[in-house]
């Protein structure tokens, strides 16, 4: 169970290995890694080229919210372990932004918890992206699809 908010890159392979090392009670690990795309919006052909993005965050509140999201996941599913790593600062296309992972005795719990962590993080963790594009800088708008994804987990 860990939350890390950091400027520097992380080694996703090493994190995955660490997650499984010496574990004999877990049936599976589900892991998600989010990367910076090189185009704006949904259509690579239509969107302006993204040369880089800068992720701003609210130090203190970010960690607090991520820890709350992690605790919520652990209250909902029987998890062996969870991990959230989120970067801030300037990132170029192809760079890693975020890693979330959940392990459990049963794969459904691992899959669902991992997706839940991403969905809630997307709508609750105080990060904001500004894209540096061929047409200038632009703050990324929140997406309704992300609100809908988070709402799936309401209860």
């Amino acid at each position: 169970m860990a939350v890390r908010v950091q400027r520097e890159d992380f080694d996703s392979g090493a994190e995955l290995e660490r997650f499984s090392a010496g574990k004999t009670r877990i049936g599976g690990i589900c892991l998600f890694v989010g990367l910076v795309r090189d185009y704006m919006g949904h259509d690579p052909a239509a969107g302006a080229e993204v040369r880089a993005m800068t992720l701003e965050h609210y130090p203190g509140m970010t960690e607090r919210q991520l820890e709350a999201i992690e605790a919520e996941a652990r209250s909902r599913w029987p998890l062996e372990d969870t991990l959230i790593i989120h970067r801030y600062g300037m990132l170029e296309p192809g760079e890693r932004i975020v890693l979330v992972a959940a392990s459990s005795a049963h794969r459904d719990a691992a899959f669902e918890a991992c997706r839940f962590l991403m969905d809630w993080l997307k709508t609750k963790a105080p990060f904001w992206k500004v894209e540096h594009t061929s047409e200038g800088d632009a703050w990324v708008d929140a997406k309704e699809s992300d609100d809908a994804a988070a709402a799936r987990w309401k209860r």
Binding site: E56, Y58, M61, V98, P126, F127, W128, W139, A142
Partner: protein, 83 residues
């Protein structure tokens, strides 16, 4: 009271953080927003459309009718876009 601005609210107000002397009649977030709007045209622009402004008091999300007191840390920011 410490007031923080993030993302385009920071860009519009031109500041990331300011200290506010809270008048005794200001007891809710909505009243605080009205007070802040008067500080500059940039502030007025930042708070022009409250539907796209989120608020946290002491790092927890709150609504506009939430109470504020002088020792609070209040943050204003757009809907989040991390991940």
């Amino acid at each position: 009271m410490k007031v923080l601005y993030f993302a385009w609210l920071r860009a519009k107000t031109g500041i990331g953080e300011e200290e506010i002397a809270l008048p005794s009649e200001v007891v809710t977030i909505a009243q605080l927003v009205e007070l802040l709007k008067g500080r500059s045209p940039g502030h007025a622009a930042a708070f022009a459309e409250m539907a796209v402004v989120r608020v946290a008091v002491n790092q927890d999300y709150v609504g506009l009718d939430s109470p504020v007191t002088t020792g609070d840390e209040v943050a204003f920011f757009p809907p989040v876009t991390g991940g």
